[in-house]
Point group: C2
Chain length 334, copies 2
C-alpha cells in the first residue's frame, strides 16, 4: 500500500485537522471534530445546508462547505456513513432558525443515520427536510430510480440548494430546488483500477489490466459490465448511450456537464473524455451551458472517470450562476 | 496502460481542444494551437508573462494562464520541451508592448528552446527577459544551485510575476520580483509509484511496493535515496531536513507552504503530510502565512507529493495576496 499515512485508523482525523488549518478563512471545526462547518455558520435567518457521508472522496464532502454552499458536513470513516449523532451535530451547526435541508446520497447507512438524526432534531424543535441523491443510472434500472446511488451529481444538488438558501428561500423552496436539481441529473462511472482503504491495506476489488468496469460505483460497487478497455471516444459513447435516454436529454436542452476523475486518472485524460462527450452532445443538439472537468468527487486513488449531466431550466441556471466560495467549487464559477 | 485516450500521439492536442472549450471564459487558443493565451492577452501596456514546458503536469502549465497570472503558455509533448517556435509564438501572444517576462523551469531542452525564441523575439524588437526556476533542492547540491531543476515552486514564481505585472511594474521590476520569489523557494519530492507516458505505454522507471524514492523529479528523475516507505511524519521530517537548512528558513520567517500531489496520491494523504509539516514548522518558530494542499503540479499518475516553501517579505506577500483568476490558482486566493 503506497500511501502517506501515520496510523491508518486516524487518516480522517489527521486530514480534517490539517483541512481546518489550511482553510481557516472558510471553515472551522465544531465541538464534534468530525463535523466541519462554514466559518460563519449558522447563518441567522438562512436555511442551513447539511450533508455528510463516508470520507475518501475528496474534495467531497468537506470541500463543498463554504459560502452559499454547504453549511456543515458530517465526515464518516473512509467509505462509511457517519453515525446519526454526527449528522445531528451537523444539523445543529447549520441551524440558523429557518430550518435545515439535508442533502445527501442514497446509501443504506446514510439513510438510516439521517433518519435517526432527523428524529432527534425534530424532538429539539429543528425543522429538517431531506433530498436523497440518486443520480447514478447504472446502479438500478429505469423505474427503480429510488434504488439508485448518489454520486457526483450531489455536487450540483449542493450548489443549487446552497444558492437557493443564500437567495433567502424558505426550507420548502430550497428542498424543491435541490430535488429538481437531482431529478434532472444523471451520472455514470467507468473504472480502470481499484483503490485501497488505508486500514485494509489492499484493494477490495480488482480490475484487470486491459479491462474496464462500466458503471462502477464510488466505492468499487460492481458495474453493469466488465469489458476490454476502449478508446475514450467509445467510452464517451457508452456514457451518452446510458445517460441521455434515461432522463431523457433531448435536442434543445441546455445542460451542465461534470466530468470528475475518480482519483488517479490524470486530469489530461478527463479533458480527452470531455472532448469526446462534447462532440456527441453537439451532434444531438444538446447545448452545454457550463462544463467542469477535474477531480470533483473521487474514490481514493481509484482510476476512472464519472460523467454527470444536469438538464437546466431558468431557476437551475440562476442557482448555478450564483456566486459561491468553497474549496471544491471555486472552479464552478463562470 | 489503464488510460482514457484515443490516439496516444494526440493526447496533448485533444486535451487542449477540450481545455479551451471548458475554460472559454478565461483562455483562448492562438494561431499556434499549442499556444494557449489569457483571453484578453496581450494586455496593452502590461508586461506579458510567458511560460511553457512539457505537458503531463496538469494543472501546470496551461492551468496557470489567466487574469493577473500567465498570459501565454507553450505546451510541449508529454514531458518534452516545446520547440523554440512555440515559445516564440507564446511571446508574441503575450506581448503588450511593455516587454515579456519568460518564467520557466530549469531543463536542458527548455533552456535551449527559450534561448532561440528570445533571439528571434529580439530580432523582432520584443524585449524579453527570463527567470529560470531551480527550486528542487535534491537535484543538485548546495553551491550548485544553477543545476537544480524547477518544480512546483514555479507556480509561486508565476503568481508573484503575474501580480507584479498586473500592478503596472516595468519588465525589470517583474523580473526582479519573480527572481526573488524563486530565490526564496525550495522544493522536494517523494515518489511512491511511477507513471506511464501514453505513447510509451508503460512506466519508464519503477518504485517497488514498500519503497519510496526520496528527492524524485517531476519526470521520474532519480532522487537521492530509495528506502523503505515511512510514516507521513517521518517523511515530513525528511522534507524539512532537506529544505529548511538549504535557504535557510529560520525562526521568525513567514512562509508559503505548497503541498502538491504528483497525480495519483489522494488529496487526503496530502493533507496528512501537510499536518506533519505544519507541526515541525511550528516547533521551529516558522510561521505559515499561506498554505495550499492539492494537485497543483502533477506528473501524470505518479504517486507522491512535493513540498515547497517560499520565504516571504512584504513585496512577496503583496504579490501572493493580489487577486488572480486561473484554473489552477483559484485556490490560491485568501
Amino acid at each position: 500500500m503506497q500511501k502517506f499515512v501515520n496510523d491508518p485508523s486516524k487518516v480522517v482525523d489527521e486530514m480534517l485537522e490539517a483541512y481546518v488549518k489550511v482553510h481557516a478563512d472558510l471553515v472551522s471545526t465544531t465541538e464534534n471534530e468530525r463535523v466541519i462547518k462554514y466559518k460563519h455558520a449558522p447563518v441567522k435567518g438562512k436555511v442551513g445546508i447539511v450533508t455528510g457521508g463516508g470520507s475518501g472522496h475528496k474534495p467531497a464532502f468537506v470541500g463543498y462547505v463554504g459560502r452559499n454552499m454547504v453549511d456543515a458536513v458530517a465526515c464518516g470513516e473512509i467509505f462509511s456513513s457517519p453515525p446519526a449523532q454526527m449528522f445531528y451535530d451537523a444539523i445543529k451547526a447549520a441551524d440558523g432558525g429557518k430550518g435545515v435541508a439535508l442533502l445527501y446520497g442514497n446509501y443504506a447507512g446514510d439513510n438510516m443515520n439521517v433518519a435517526m438524526a432527523m428524529d432527534e432534531a425534530e424532538d429539539e424543535g429543528i425543522e429538517v427536510k431531506k433530498v436523497v441523491a440518486n443520480d447514478d443510472v447504472p446502479s438500478a434500472p429505469k423505474g427503480e430510480e429510488a434504488k439508485r446511488r448518489g454520486v457526483a451529481g450531489e455536487i450540483l444538488m449542493w450548489k443549487v440548494g446552497g444558492a437557493k438558501a443564500a437567495m433567502g428561500a424558505s426550507l420548502d423552496e430550497v428542498i424543491a430546488a435541490a430535488q429538481k436539481a437531482i431529478k434532472n441529473t444523471r451520472s455514470m462511472g467507468v473504472g480502470l483500477a481499484p483503490c485501497a482503504i488505508p486500514e485494509v491495506g489492499h484493494p477490495n476489488f480488482t480490475i484487470e489490466e486491459g479491462k474496464m468496469e462500466v458503471g462502477i460505483g464510488h466505492h468499487g460497487e460492481p458495474g453493469i459490465e466488465v469489458c476490454d478497455l476502449e478508446p475514450s471516444a467509445k467510452i464517451a459513447q457508452r456514457f451518452c448511450n446510458v445517460i441521455l435516454p434515461d432522463l431523457p436529454f433531448e435536442s434543445g436542452d441546455e445542460v451542465v456537464v461534470l466530468i470528475s476523475g475518480l482519483g488517479s486518472t490524470p486530469v489530461m485524460e478527463q479533458y480527452i473524455v470531455f472532448n469526446d462527450i462534447e462532440k456527441i452532445l453537439k451532434e444531438r443538439g444538446i447545448k452545454i451551458y457550463l462544463s467542469y472537468v477535474g477531480n470533483y468527487f473521487t474514490s481514493l486513488e481509484m482510476a476512472g472517470v464519472t460523467c454527470t449531466l444536469m438538464k437546466l431550466d431558468e431557476e437551475l441556471k440562476e442557482c448555478m450562476d450564483y456566486e459561491c466560495d468553497s474549496v471544491g467549487m471555486q472552479q464552478f464559477q463562470r
